[in-house]
Symmetry: C2
Subunit: 308 residues, 2 copies
């Protein structure tokens, strides 16, 4: 049940209407790997950081069972840095600063021990880099999940379309689904996107939940209405990590089981937004996770008799 | 199980990115009453129209069991008219023209036969007019549901707060819940709104479903992802009509039964948006409604075992 997680390990500086962070640890595959580590202890990370990245954070990841053999540490360079500011609605944000740093020349290298993995999670990165990871695998994994964003649709659409042909599940948000498909209707849009390669599409809707769609079925998982959302950064990545972590744990990639994976991903994401950065993901207990899943179950539970 | 439905019966002229209508029949309680008529044949309407309103439409409403004794027809005046244009996202719209006409001097008058009704649905209208209806009832109904909008929060907040003290269920959209409560968090916002009077709050989220909240529980009903949304006008009113129609039919105002009512309301609203105006609500069959409810059941169905 080995899982490879690919994406950024980086620094973020975030302000929201409810507070602001210093420069803290972030990055797509930081969230992905931490979330997945609650479901499988065979998480194998691929990324790059600079010499400025805190070694103690890396040790903590290793203690959680995350294998860092595929993490390149470029001691003389600096880690990727993103600074952003969220608006009142928390669904839109402005990028204040982006320093690519080590990411500018990143060439992912898969250690030999990563071969024969069964699950591959490609976090948000340049599609060309995502493709390079797939091409380094001698055997196609049982399931490849790809996350991406509108930025790549704007500047690297052809690359993105190439990598889409090689993945099983695509996770994007609703605006991105509309952009990628050119359709306002998510039903029509999903159909077009599934023709581009993926067999499953997960449309992330933030506080409005997530949709799982294949060519025959749809599943709508709500998001848990939260008492407080402190910082939405990493919620989508955490969702992806919980999603693929659960699939890697159960090794069942049926639509029925993916529905459960969507619920688990949503439950994990609901923790991330409660604090800035990765703080909430560092030491969750099984009881906390179980309790949150129960809240999801209760939230959508109803029984109905058809109108006679 | 008698139900009183109050609100506008009017003309609309609508354009969306997918088409445009002529001047067609609309109005909050037109949608409410038509939707409710699929669940109870004891619908008693209160509204006002001018001499220009098509008599054959009124006959059709009567054939559906909607009692029009409380409809004032001012032969020498004109009906309320609204013209609007929806943007690409279908969630925002511009009002191009509003002619109050008969609404300007509307004083609702409850016929004696409407007394002792058990269910009262106050569709979107000036809060002062909604209050006048409540005050004309000799006996408080079993359940009073009120729909309103941001417009009244802007210009008649004190009146709105007065009427909120007298209702059991408030239905508003998520932006309106944020405006009314001053809270971004819908959980905190709901708590504040429930302190204003209503025992239940329904937050309508358009294509993202609806939340039902009381002081102890929450229920999230997704909206059905639609192949085509032609015209969202009246979706919220149709939701309210299906919601209260089902409650009036079953006479059970428990939280459990309100969850079903939310699903039924959502199912009815999913028809309305498929065509312009009330067209789709005119001749639905039981099979069509049952089929749509089944789609909702399937859409959210999952089983999950807690992580061991």
């Amino acid at each position: 049940m080995s899982l490879i997680t690919v994406g950024t390990v980086a620094f973020d500086k975030i302000s929201t209407p409810f507070g602001a962070s210093d420069k803290i640890v972030g990055g797509a595959t930081t969230y992905i790997s931490l979330a997945a580590s609650y479901f499988t202890k065979d998480v194998n990370l691929v990324s790059v950081v600079g010499g400025d990245f805190p070694k103690e954070f890396l040790r903590t990841m290793e203690e959680k069972g995350i294998n860092l053999e595929g993490l390149q540490i470029k001691e003389d360079e600096k880690s990727f840095f993103w600074e952003g500011k969220y608006h009142f609605d928390m669904n839109s944000r402005d990028t204040l600063e982006t320093q690519l740093n080590v990411l500018e020349t990143f060439e992912p290298k898969l250690p030999a021990s990563y071969q024969n993995c069964e699950f591959l999670m490609l976090g948000n990165l340049a599609p060309q880099v995502q493709l390079e990871v797939i091409e380094q695998l001698e055997k196609r994994p049982k399931l490849v999940v790809l996350d991406t964003m509108n930025f790549w649709m704007d500047i690297a659409l052809e690359d993105l379309k190439k990598v889409l042909k090689k993945v099983d599940v695509l996770t994007i948000n609703d605006e991105e689904a509309r952009q990628l498909s050119g359709e306002y209707s998510l039903v029509k849009g999903a159909r077009k996107i599934l023709e581009m390669g993926p067999k499953f599409l997960v449309i992330k809707k933030g506080e409005n939940g997530a949709l799982l769609i294949d060519d025959e079925q749809m599943f709508y998982a709500p998001a848990l209405p939260m008492e407080d959302v402190m910082d939405p950064t990493g919620a989508g990545d955490t969702f992806a990590g919980g999603f693929i972590g659960y699939l890697a744990k159960t090794r069942d990639i049926s639509f029925e089981n993916m529905k459960r994976a969507v619920i688990l991903g949503s439950a994990m994401a609901s923790f991330t937004v409660e604090k800035f950065g990765t703080e909430r993901l560092m030491d969750l207990t099984e009881d906390e996770i179980d309790h949150r899943i129960q809240l999801f179950v209760d939230l959508v539970d109803f029984d109905i008799l058809l109108v006679e």
